[in-house]
Structure formats: structure tokens, C-alpha cells
């Protein structure tokens, strides 16, 4: 039995999760799969236990803010790695801004603890069942989530770095 490739992963995941696979594509050899957010925890647990897919390593958890896409403002991205097949895999869940709850995967990967705390700290994603969801790099009494796009880094009146002049048209920063 040879090593599995991205297509095998996609087929297996589609077969297992059916209509919870909302979209998929491939970016620079890494498979991106968008899942129903509430199913991500179980999907990762299944992938981790699976004999052949054997996704044994959690590389990273990231969040991305897309303020303009209504109903799916926040993406939570799980980057996973199967050493057996040397396949990297990205699972994504999109959350609406008024319901930022997603199931924590700290019960599957102990290393997810701080990754999730960091994601909460910067984006305000709430990981349900996390043992200790507090801010980690910022002050405890900070009252906003600084990586969201509405918090501009510099003085908004500055024009020399205005995005309008540099290839981006409709951002309001």
C-alpha cells in the first residue's frame, strides 16, 4: 500500500462527513477543507484515530477575520499533519460574528491549549470546553480583540500608507 495523497484524503473525508464538507480546494499542495464548524472537533478526532489517514500532529490553529463576508466573518483554521503519509491538511470553519463558539480540541491535542487561548486573545473566538480560556499574550483587562480588522494599527488619518493607492480598493481602514 503506497502513501495516500490529497485526493485520497478528500475522498475519505467526504465519504465520512457527507454534506458537512462545505467546500474544498488545494492551495500550494495543501488541501483546504471547509467543514460545518460544529463538526470539526469530531472530524479531527476521527482523523486522529483513523489507521490509514493517521493525522497525528497538530501544526497550528489560526483565525482570520473577514469583516465583509456577512454571516461568515471569522474563519478558524486548523493545520494538521499526517506523518505517515506526509500530508498537510487544513480544516476550516467559518463562524458568524454573533456566534463565535466552536468546540475546543484540547481533549485531543494538549498543545491546542495555548493555540486556542491565543486565538481567543486576538480574535475573541470562544472555544467551548476549553479548560482555561483566558487571554495569554495581552493584558487580562484588555476589552477588545486586537487582531480584528476594525482596529487599525496606525493613525487612520495617515495617507501615505493608504491602501487605496496600493492595490486594495474597498477596504475602509
Amino acid at each position: 500500500m503506497g502513501k495516500k495523497n490529497n485526493q485520497d484524503y478528500l475522498n475519505a473525508i467526504e465519504e465520512h462527513l457527507g454534506k458537512d464538507v462545505l467546500a474544498h480546494d488545494e492551495a500550494f499542495d495543501i488541501l483546504n477543507i471547509e467543514l460545518t464548524p460544529s463538526k470539526i472537533h469530531d472530524a479531527i478526532a476521527w482523523l486522529q484515530q483513523h489507521q490509514e489517514l493517521s493525522v497525528n500532529y497538530l501544526t497550528n490553529i489560526a483565525a482570520v477575520h473577514y469583516p465583509e463576508s456577512e454571516g461568515r466573518e471569522f474563519a478558524v483554521v486548523y493545520q494538521l499533519h499526517s506523518w505517515k503519509n506526509n500530508i498537510r491538511l487544513r480544516l476550516k470553519g467559518y463562524l458568524p460574528k454573533d456566534n463565535l463558539h466552536i468546540h475546543s480540541i484540547t481533549d485531543l491535542f494538549a498543545g491546542a491549549n495555548w493555540m486556542e487561548r491565543e486565538t481567543y486573545d486576538f480574535f475573541g473566538i470562544i472555544f467551548d470546553n476549553h479548560p482555561d480560556l483566558r487571554r495569554i499574550l495581552n493584558m487580562d483587562d484588555m476589552d477588545y480583540f486586537p487582531m480584528r480588522k476594525e482596529y487599525v494599527l496606525e493613525d487612520a488619518t495617515r495617507e501615505d500608507k493608504d491602501d487605496r493607492f496600493f492595490g486594495r480598493n474597498n477596504t475602509e481602514q
Binding site: A27, I30, N32, A62, G111, F122, L153, G167
Partner: protein
């Protein structure tokens, strides 16, 4: 302390439990991070970490900077091996824009990255010596690291925060002084290194102090997403250079050392062996250094020579476009990982076609494995906690981003 002693269940009298601060500023934290320890005499019952003292919002900063201005940010992640961070970032951008750099650039990068790895491991290991009480072994390697810094200096003009290399290659080729210094380093370093090794590796006092200090099993290390020397010390042979070779690492013959117990002594020994292997890689790369250009043909990203900017209209236009960040970038999502001094250093970049990243996340190995620290030091005496901290090589810059 042995594993059996660690497993003894404590039932301390609450009146005997003391709460002490280990850090934020403490000589043996080698950076600013706080651990609040609950101790019963010398034994640590539990600990709680506070991190973020030098958080500088790199990810937010990166969203406001053109790609070439992000390289200096990456210097300040793991500042013991800045060139690896720089080159990792450059390769991420090259992946996004789809450029193949000349073979010579790849070999030059390998040489620089392995020099950086040597500098990183050398400092980490000599600091383990300091925390075990051996100061001599701390002073010797510094003159060797100095030689590596002089090599950086020839290539980038800087020593610690190197901002080394450019998107598409290097700012300048290896010059004559560099060749001379590298040759002299390659011939003198092995002897000096073995001398350093002989001070600690089989030193009875050092071994007694470090064996069994802060162990972690392979299983737990994997579950905590460990990477780099700390994971390999626990017996797992994961190395990005082999799993996903970049920059022509597949051309070189080297082994990945692994430990058995995942304790401080194994971490020390793994790093020592990695230094030897890095040296082997440098020799192979340097002896087979291909002819060619030290940069890719990439006028949209690579700044033209200054003399051309003053005398040539075309060069001036490109200079202006690059400096003002007017280059068109592809839309895409890239993850690129390199084997940093501490493990898998990853760049997760989302580009929306604008001149700055839409989102850039750093996978910082320190941040990920430092969370296992309370588990590693539970039941240990405080002096072992100090050793464990220095042997997992937590670099505050990388931890806090």
C-alpha cells in the same frame, strides 16, 4: 531526579506550601517570563505561567507592511538564529509568487541556516552548563559564536538581527573575506567544539544534574505538538528538513539524532550531535557550491543595484515600485515551514493581492512547547526546573511574538 521519585504522590500539609515567584526577571529565566510555583520545601507541586511580557504584535504589524519590510520583524522571533527566520520568510514569499531560486542561492542559504543552527544550539547548550553550575563551558563557545556572527556581518552588515537575504536570493554574494573566514571556521571549529563537548558531555557532575531532569515522554511531547530538538530528545525523529525538504536539503547527507528519555541530558546531547551534523551539511554545501548568480532574476521584488538606480531609468522605476509596494501579488494561501533552532517554524500567509499580507501567522515552536513546562517540572526540585527551562531553549522573542 529519577522517574520513580517523580511519581510519588504528594500529600503535603497545606501549612507547608509556599508560593514563590520564579521570574519575571530572574537570572536563570534568560528572558522575561514568570512562573508562579507552589512548593513544598524544594518540591514543585504546581506552577502557573505568565507569558507575553515582550509581545510586540508582530502579526498585526505584518498586516501593515509590504513583504520585504516583514523580514526585519522575523529577526526578532528567535534572535539566537535570526537568519533561519529571515530565510524561512523569504522562501514563503517565493512560494507565493512562484519563483525558483538558483541552485547557488539554495546552497548559500543552507550554509547560512546551518551556521545559525550551530550558533543557536551552542548558546543553548552552554547555558545549560551555566545553570548546572559550569561557567567555564559558557565562555569558550562565545568566541566560536563570534566567528559565526562575523560571517553574518560579511553577508548582511549586521550581527544579531541580521535582516539577511532578500526575496529571491541574497543582497550580495559571498565575498573574499567571507570565504576566508568560513574556511578558517570550518577548520578550527570542530576541535574547539569537541573541547567544549568534553567539558560537559561525560562530566559526572553534569550528568548527575541533568539526567532525569524535566523528562517528557514521546507520547506527551507529540500530543503537545513539540518539534525540533526537544521532540527528538524524546525519541521522535521528526525534522522538517527531511519531511518536507526545502532549499535543496535533499542533496545532503546527514542524520537526525534522537534521544531516549526526553530529559535535559538528552536534549543537550541531541543539540550537540545536531551541531556536528550541521557542520557536515555546511561542508557538503560549501564544497559543492554551484556556480551561478546569488539572486533570482526577479525585478519586481529584488531591488536593483544602487548605481543602476541613479543612472538607469528602468532601474529607477523598479526601485520606486518595490519601495512603494506597488508590485502586484498573487492571491493565495501559503504555509511554509523550516526547521528553526527550536523546531518547526512555520509561516501561514494569506494574500488577498494587496501589497501587505491579509493575514500572516507565525507558527512559533517555543510558544507551543512551553505550555508543557508545568507538566515537565511537577514533582521536581526548583533547581531542576531551572535546568529544564534552559534546556528547552525558550526564547522570549519567539514565545511572545
Amino acid at each position: 531526579m529519577s522517574q520513580e521519585n517523580k511519581d510519588i504522590i504528594f500529600s503535603p500539609d497545606p501549612a507547608n506550601i509556599a508560593t514563590i515567584n520564579f521570574g519575571p526577571t530572574h537570572p536563570s529565566t534568560h528572558g522575561i517570563f514568570q512562573n508562579i510555583l507552589k512548593v513544598d520545601g524544594e518540591k514543585i507541586i504546581s506552577s502557573e505561567q505568565t507569558v507575553g511580557y515582550i509581545h510586540r504584535a508582530f502579526e498585526k504589524l505584518a498586516e501593515r507592511r509590504p513583504y520585504n519590510q516583514i523580514t526585519p520583524i522575523t529577526d526578532r522571533l528567535n534572535y539566537c538564529s535570526s537568519p533561519i527566520n529571515n530565510i524561512g520568510w523569504e522562501m514563503t514569499v517565493e512560494k507565493l509568487i512562484g519563483v525558483e531560486v538558483p541552485k547557488r542561492v539554495q546552497y548559500m542559504r543552507v550554509i547560512i541556516m546551518e551556521l545559525a543552527r550551530i550558533a543557536d544550539h551552542l548558546i543553548c547548550n552552554s547555558v545549560i552548563g551555566v545553570d548546572a553550575g559550569a561557567l567555564t563551558s559558557f565562555f569558550y563557545p562565545f568566541s566560536e559564536r563570534e566567528k559565526i556572527y562575523e560571517l553574518y556581518e560579511e553577508l548582511s552588515g549586521a550581527r544579531l538581527t541580521t535582516n539577511l537575504g532578500r526575496i529571491g536570493g541574497f543582497e550580495r554574494d559571498f565575498n573574499e573575506v567571507f570565504h576566508k573566514k568560513l574556511k578558517s571556521f570550518l577548520s578550527t571549529f570542530p576541535k574547539a567544539f569537541e573541547e567544549f563537548d568534553s567539558l560537559l558531555a561525560r562530566n559526572r557532575i553534569f550528568m548527575d544534574r541533568t539526567k532525569g531532569a524535566g523528562p517528557i515522554s514521546a507520547d506527551r511531547a507529540l500530543n503537545y505538538s513539540f518539534s525540533g530538538p526537544n521532540l527528538r530528545a524524546a525519541g521522535v525523529d521528526y525534522d522538517v528538513r527531511v519531511m518536507n525538504p526545502y532549499s535543496s536539503y535533499e542533496d545532503f547527507d546527514f542524520i537526525i539524532p534522537v534521544g531516549v528519555n526526553g530529559d535535559t541530558y538528552d536534549r543537550f546531547m541531541v543539540r550537540q550531535e545536531e551541531i556536528r551534523q550541521s557542520l557536515r551539511i555546511i561542508e557538503q554545501a560549501y564544497n559543492n557550491l554551484p556556480e551561478g548568480d546569488y539572486k533570482a532574476d526577479l525585478p519586481d521584488f529584488y531591488l536593483p543595484a544602487k548605481a543602476d538606480v541613479y543612472n538607469n531609468m528602468e532601474a529607477l522605476i523598479y526601485h520606486f515600485k518595490i519601495v512603494m509596494g506597488e508590485t502586484d501579488l498573487p492571491v493565495g494561501e501559503v504555509y511554509h515551514a523550516v526547521e528553526g533552532g527550536n523546531g518547526e517554524l512555520g509561516y501561514y500567509l494569506i494574500s488577498d493581492g494587496g501589497r501587505t499580507p491579509y493575514r500572516l501567522q507565525f507558527r512559533r515552536p517555543c510558544f507551543i512547547y512551553y505550555q508543557a513546562y508545568p507538566e515537565m517540572i511537577k514533582g521536581m526540585p526548583i533547581s531542576d526546573a531551572v535546568l529544564t527551562l534552559s534546556s528547552i531553549n525558550v526564547i522570549a522573542g519567539e514565545l511572545d511574538a
